[in-house]
Assembly symmetry: C2
Amino acid sequence: MIYLDHHSATRPCSPAIERMMPYLTEHWGASFAPHRMGQELIAALDTRYQMIYDFVGADLKDTFVFTSSGAEAVNQVLWSAFLEMSRKEGKCHFIASMIEDAPTMQMLKRLEELGCYVKIAPVNSRGEIDVEKLAQLINPRTALISVTLAHGLTGVIQPIEEIARLAKEKNVLLHVDANYALGKMVFSFAGLGADYCTFSGDRIHALKSSGGLFAKKGAPLSPLILGGTEQGGYRGGAFDVPSFMALSAAIQQSALYLDAMSLETARLRDQFESELQRLIPEAKPLFQDTLRLPNTSAIVFPRVHQEALLYLLNRKGVFAALGGPYCQHLSRTLIASGIPELDSECALSFALSRMTTEVEVVRAAAIIAEAVQQLQLLSKDLF
Amino acid sequence: MIYLDHHSATRPCSPAIERMMPYLTEHWGASFAPHRMGQELIAALDTRYQMIYDFVGADLKDTFVFTSSGAEAVNQVLWSAFLEMSRKEGKCHFIASMIEDAPTMQMLKRLEELGCYVKIAPVNSRGEIDVEKLAQLINPRTALISVTLAHGLTGVIQPIEEIARLAKEKNVLLHVDANYALGKMVFSFAGLGADYCTFSGDRIHALKSSGGLFAKKGAPLSPLILGGTEQGGYRGGAFDVPSFMALSAAIQQSALYLDAMSLETARLRDQFESELQRLIPEAKPLFQDTLRLPNTSAIVFPRVHQEALLYLLNRKGVFAALGGPYCQHLSRTLIASGIPELDSECALSFALSRMTTEVEVVRAAAIIAEAVQQLQLLSKDLF
């Protein structure tokens, strides 16, 4: 089995599991408990927070909320902007791009139901958000712009600096979804110029029960889940110490491997693409001329329907991705970037991790080539 | 160390940790992934769901949403009622009791900010919600009544059947918070006559990252966290398979030990109380004549301030509880039940688990008696 679907989940790394275990078997108290089983956790948490702030390049004055997922973090950011900006200041206009993930799009739809209105910025042929067109969507009632730092399926890194300048100039809040970027590229929350940054733990070898949001000092922030005084009142419910500990260990590992990610993983990804092109001369890796994440590759395999290929690869033990339903589907994302519909429906996306090996990518390329040839033979008369 | 604060956290049981582990080390895929790493999880989840439905006595037509905490589950229930009943049908009136936990009270406060109004039902001298007075609060615009099945600090089991009859008669939704009751007493969701039931995993020896809600077929239900199609669209974000597996194992254990809980744990609790009364004749266990959870004991230690006692017991290695801030504080709960203020401020609450032993309760009683005597000596002139 060769797993090239690190878009959707990553293997929890051993240091994450190891750091978590004592908090399940020994130090399992509630961190709010007014006795030793609670108090002993406070000091242990402290240094771990520092690690997360450092890795994301956040200022100690910024607020970090540990959530149960990236989706929850995104929801909380948009909800905070709604409560503080829309309800209190009448700023009820939101902007996102065409290539945002489900949590952003579905939460914005909910805000529409609650009386807000939402505009969607297009992407250009390089797979990047069109900043000029985005600028035209801003109006005096715009509360927040929500964009991804890098797209999960295409890997395209977005022009956040330009968008941040724009947001600052127009006095609009900016949320950057760093779900796919964290641990794959060097960035700092301070450097981005954004007001919020969110991520998910299950994309960086931590547990599924982890995610987080950073909010700049002064940016509106309200709890999404209410109940108690944990995390400064910004998130109710018992603080999930074991999962937080696992996240801190996974982040420490990500920091150690960040160079390897941008050198070795990028090299393997490039090797994967050229190997595929050698075996299938018609194969077209996409967005090679755009800045991309080092681990991601979207490739068109002409005359092969993506679903058939995904299915056949699954049987052959190679796991790839097609994205989610509706706008989150790879074909919709590609069509949005001006790639012909026929090509868009023949594409698959692959995401490596730092655990992916050269043997795996070479073997995967051979299996994919075999599968593509099988399917092309079958569908010869259809295309 | 003797841990008698099972109100705030319980030790994850070994079967829970064991059942979770393979889903961290081997089967760590995303359950929504369209390949083997995702699909293999679906069948594994299926039988585990059945176990949870059976234990809670839910009908297969009811909906179960696995959440990251009991707090999240409570938030989602109230939010669903708001979206569907208040916004669509104009039913913007909510009722809770004086002794509800923070998630309920804080979420209701948020609904007030969004235009709803909330009435609070009092409790009687038996520590039970006053059903007659609650009935008087219902009006034609009442959307939902939210009450706890048993109170965490006093252990008092609430008259849910009567409240359910009332709710049905008046066509009002009923949410029952079973956080403290699940695994401690026999009940079934079907038998309660409620529309919703919520609980938290960290009170029944599962992980902190687990909780859940049951909603009767037809009861309004909306996601609180949006993003994707997991759990039928009722909760966005990656489904936390490892924590769900741990919950299913913890629930299986709870089912096995349910008899032991109502017999052996109740016996130990009673022994704890009589031992304390033997050593401190003035000590007054509360609500002994009311139906209580088998594991909980609230006790007044005259002439000893509860905070001083809690602090001293902590130093001596016995961990008890005082509740949360504001209304969640033990003294406020007791005052609400008509217990004199002076007594209310001299009370502590203790909660055993099925893991608590006879040696522990006898030893704890001796340590508590010693601490009480020390403090009474110190404060002789104050009272």
